[in-house]
Symmetry: C2
Subunit: 466 residues, 2 copies
C-alpha cells in the first residue's frame, strides 16, 4: 500500500460504512512495517474509531502496530481497545514498548489490565515501572471491582492554597500533559488533606494576583476510596461534576474519578441489572458465540427447571380436583401468569430505585405496604374481569368466584414478594437483582396454583354442581 492508496483507504473508512473492507491493507502495511503508511491512514481518526477498525487483528498484529506507530498515538488507540484485545496485545509487545505503554497508561486502566494478566507477567510489568508508579499500581490493585478506588486516577492537578492564580496557572501548564483533567484543580495542604477546589474556568476569569485559597470552593462533594461505585455514579449524576475527588480514611486526596469512567459504569450497571432480572449472567453480548450464549443462559434455566417442578408438584397434588373440573387447568395458568407479571413489575421498580439511590429515606415497610395495596386493587380489578370472562366461557358461578378470590390473593402475594425479596437480599448484602426474578415468579406460580386449586378442592361439590 503506497501513500496514495492510504488516502483512499482513509476516505473509505471515514465514511463509516464498511470499516472491515480495508483490513487487509492495514494488515499488509503492518507486516511490511510501513510506518508512514499506517500513520497517514489513521491521521485524524478519533482513537475510538481507530480501535474499532483494528479490533479484528490478533494480538501479535496489534503489538506490531503499536510498536510501529509509537507513543503517544499508539497509547490513545490502545486505551480504546476491547479489554481482551489489550491483554493479547501486551503479551506480544517487546519490553521497551511495553514499558512505554504501561508508564503512560492512565492508572485506573493500567490496574484493570494488570489484574487480568498472569502473575509471571505481572512481575515483569512491575519491574518495568518506576518506583512511584509501582507504588500507585500496588495501591490500586487492592481495590475490588465495585469500589471507587478501582476507578480513580491518581493523575489529578493540585495546587496549594497560598499560590496566586498566576502561579497556579503556570503550574497547571506544566502539570497538564500528565494529568487526566486540568478543568478541576484540587487545593491541598502539605499533608495532602483536601481543602477545596477551583475550576479552570474560575482560574482564568480571576485576577492573576488573587490567592487560590480565596476563590476556592470549600464545600466539597467527595467520595471515599471504599465507596461502592454505584453510589459514586449516582452522586456524579446528581451534582453534575466533571470529576469527584476520592479521599482515603484520613481525608487525604488520593485520586479523582472522571465523568467518562462513570458514563461507562452507569451503562454497565444498567445492563447488569437488566440481565439479572431476565435470569441471565452478564457475560453476553449480541456478538457472542452460541457456546458462550448457552453457557450464559443455561445455568439459569436449570435453576428454573427446579423451581417450575416445585410449582408442577402443587398441580399434581390437586390432580383429582382438576380431573373433575378440567376448566381449572386453563384458569390456573391465567392466575399464575398475571401473578408473575405483577411480581416482576414491583421487583423492577424496587431494584431500579435501589440502583439509582432513590430508596434512601424511603421506609421499607411503607414500600411493601404500598405494593400490597396495589396488589389488592389490581387483583380485585383483574379478578373481576377474569371472573366475568370465565362465567361467560364455562357458565359456572362458583368457578368465577374462586378465580376472583385466587386472583386477588395471588396479586397481593406478588406485591409482597416483589418488593420484599430485593430489599431482603440487599439487607443481607446480596445483589437485589440476582435470581430475584425467578424467586418471585416461583412464589407467585406456587401461590396462584395453591390458592386457586386449594379453594377449588374445598368447594369441589359446589363447583361440580355449577
Amino acid at each position: 500500500m503506497n501513500i496514495h492508496k492510504a488516502k483512499g483507504f482513509r476516505h473509505a473508512l471515514n465514511k463509516d460504512n464498511h470499516p472491515k473492507m480495508c483490513l487487509k491493507d492495514v494488515r499488509s502495511a503492518i507486516n511490511e512495517r510501513q510506518t508512514e503508511v499506517l500513520h497517514k491512514a489513521f491521521v485524524g481518526f478519533h482513537p475510538a474509531d481507530a480501535a474499532r477498525i483494528l479490533e479484528p487483528l490478533n494480538g501479535s498484529e496489534l503489538a506490531n502496530f503499536i510498536e510501529l506507530i509509537g507513543p503517544p498515538r499508539a497509547l490513545e488507540i490502545f486505551e480504546f481497545l476491547d479489554f481482551q484485545k489489550q491483554k493479547e496485545t501486551v503479551e506480544n509487545l517487546m519490553p521497551e514498548a511495553l514499558a512505554q505503554l504501561f508508564a503512560n497508561m492512565s492508572p485506573d486502566d493500567r490496574t484493570d489490565l494488570v489484574k487480568e494478566l498472569g502473575t509471571d507477567f505481572q512481575d515483569r510489568v512491575l519491574g518495568l515501572l518506576i518506583h512511584k508508579e509501582r507504588q500507585d499500581l500496588f495501591k490500586l490493585l487492592t481495590y475490588s471491582e465495585d469500589q471507587a478506588g478501582a476507578y480513580m486516577t491518581t493523575r489529578f492537578a493540585s495546587v496549594e492554597p497560598d499560590y496566586s492564580i498566576r502561579t497556579a496557572l503556570d503550574r497547571l501548564r506544566i502539570q497538564a500533559p500528565t494529568k487526566e483533567t486540568i478543568y478541576y484543580v484540587y487545593v491541598v495542604d502539605d499533608q495532602l488533606k483536601l481543602l477545596g477546589f477551583v475550576s479552570l474556568r474560575d482560574l482564568i476569569m480571576s485576577r492573576p494576583e488573587v490567592r487560590v485559597g480565596d476563590i476556592m470552593v470549600t464545600n466539597i462533594i467527595s467520595v471515599q476510596v471504599d465507596d461502592n461505585i454505584e453510589h459514586v455514579a449516582n452522586k456524579m449524576a446528581r451534582y453534575d461534576f466533571l470529576a469527584l475527588p476520592v479521599l482515603d480514611t484520613k481525608g487525604r486526596l488520593v485520586g479523582i474519578i472522571t465523568f467518562d469512567d462513570i458514563l461507562d459504569v452507569i451503562q454497565r450497571e444498567a445492563t447488569e441489572d437488566m440481565y439479572k432480572l431476565a435470569g441471565m449472567n452478564v457475560g453476553e453480548q449480541i456478538s457472542s458465540s452460541v457456546a458462550r450464549i448457552v453457557s450464559n443462559r443455561l445455568p439459569w434455566l436449570f435453576l428454573n427447571i427446579g423451581t417450575s417442578l416445585l410449582a408442577a408438584n402443587v398441580i399434581t397434588t390437586f390432580g383429582g380436583t382438576i380431573e373433575k373440573v378440567i376448566a381449572l387447568a386453563a384458569l390456573m395458568t391465567v392466575v399464575a401468569t398475571l401473578g408473575g407479571n405483577s411480581g416482576n413489575q414491583a421487583l423492577t421498580v424496587v431494584v431500579r430505585s435501589m440502583a439509582m439511590g432513590d430508596t434512601t429515606g424511603q421506609r421499607r415497610s411503607l414500600i411493601i405496604l404500598k405494593n400490597i395495596a396495589v396488589g389488592l386493587i389490581n387483583g380485585f380489578t383483574c379478578g373481576m374481569v377474569i371472573a366475568a370472562v370465565s362465567y361467560l366461557w364455562f357458565d359456572n358461578l362458583w368457578l368465577s368466584i374462586i378465580a376472583w378470590i385466587a386472583m386477588t390473593a395471588n396479586q397481593i402475594i406478588a406485591g409482597l414478594f416483589g418488593s420484599l425479596i430485593p430489599m431482603a437480599l440487599k439487607r443481607f448484602n446480596m445483589d437485589p437483582a440476582h435470581g430475584s426474578s425467578i424467586l418471585v415468579t416461583t412464589l407467585t406460580d406456587i401461590g396462584g396454583f395453591m390458592i386457586f386449586l386449594g379453594l377449588a378442592s374445598l368447594l369441589i361439590n359446589e363447583l361440580m354442581a355449577g
Copy 2:
C-alpha cells in the same frame, strides 16, 4: 430564627441525616422574609442539596424563597428542583423575578419547562424575553423529546480561526459567565459553519501568538439536531467528550450537548427499557402514590389478561387429553415457564444491545439463527432433565419423550421470537422494548401448550398404555 440559630440549622442539615427536621425553620424564615437568615442557612450548600431540602415546600413558598434569595443563587437551586415543583414555582413568581429567572436559565431546561406550561402562561413568559432569547426558545420548542435539539444548549463558546490564542482567551474570559462550558471552544466561520474545536487545555498550553486555526482539531465528532438522543448518548459514551456539537442540516453549529444532560438521558433510557421489559409504563417511582402505581401497572395487566386467556383457550381445547393423563397439566406449565424465561433472555440481550448501539453491523438473520441454535441446545439439554425427572415421577416413558420434544421445540420458538420481535418492531420504527415481553411470553406459552398437549393428543393411546 436569628443568625445564631441559622448556623446550628445549617450544621444539622449538613450532616445529611434528617434534612426534614428543620423545614419548619426554613418555612418561617420565608414567611417572615428573613433574607439574610436564608442566605446564611444555605451558604456553601451544593444547589442540588439545597433543592432537595426545599422540595417539600409548595409552589408559593418556593416562589417567595426564589424572590428573597435572588439571582444567581436562586437560579442554581431552581434548576435542581423537580420538574413539577419548577412548574408550581414559576406560576407563583412575580413578573420581575420570572423574567430574571427565564432570562438566565439554560436554554434546554427553559424549553422543557415552557413546554409544560399552559399556553396563556407561555405567552407571558415569551413576552418577558429579549428578542434573541425568544427566537432561541421558539427554535428549541420545535424539537421532540427524543431529538438531540431538545437537549442542546445554545450557549456555547465560539471563536474564529484567525484569532490568536491570546485573543481567543481574552474573548473566552468575556463569554465565560454566560456559557454552559468553556472547556471546549468551537471554531466557526462567518456563516457559523463548524470548522473545528480547541479545548481550553490546549489553549492555555499553547503560545499566545499562535493562530487558533493552527491548533484546532478538525476531525470533528458531531451530531445532527434531529438525531435520536439515544444515538447521541452512545456517541458521547464511546468518545469520552465533555460536549458534542450539534449541527443543523446545513452544517451550521446551532448548539452543544453537555455530558451532564447525557448522564441523565442514559439513566432515564435504561430505566425506561427495564420498565417496558417488565410490562409497565415509565411514570412510576419508588415514592409514587398507590393510585399512581395502579394506573401505571394495571393497563399492562389487562393486556396480559387477554394474552393469558388465549393461552388458556389452547389448554381447554385439549381438555379431553388432560382429563385422561392429569400429569400433563403439571408438565405443561414447566414447558411454558421455561419457554417464557428463555424468550425473555433473548429479548433482553437484543433490546439492550439495540439501545447501546451494539447491533450496528450485526446481521439480523445471524442474530436470529444464533438464538434458534441456542434454543435447540438449551431445549435439548433442559428437555433431557425434564424427561428424566418426569420418568422417575410418573413412570411413563411416552410422557417423558413428549416432554423432551415439546421442550426442545418450545425453546426454539423462544429463541426465534425473543430475537425476532424486538428487531421487527424496530424495523417498523416502533419501540423494541414496548410490549415485547408480554408478546414473547404469550407466544412461548401458546407454543408450549400446543406442542406438548398436541403431541399428547396424537399419542394418547401410547401415553395411556404408559
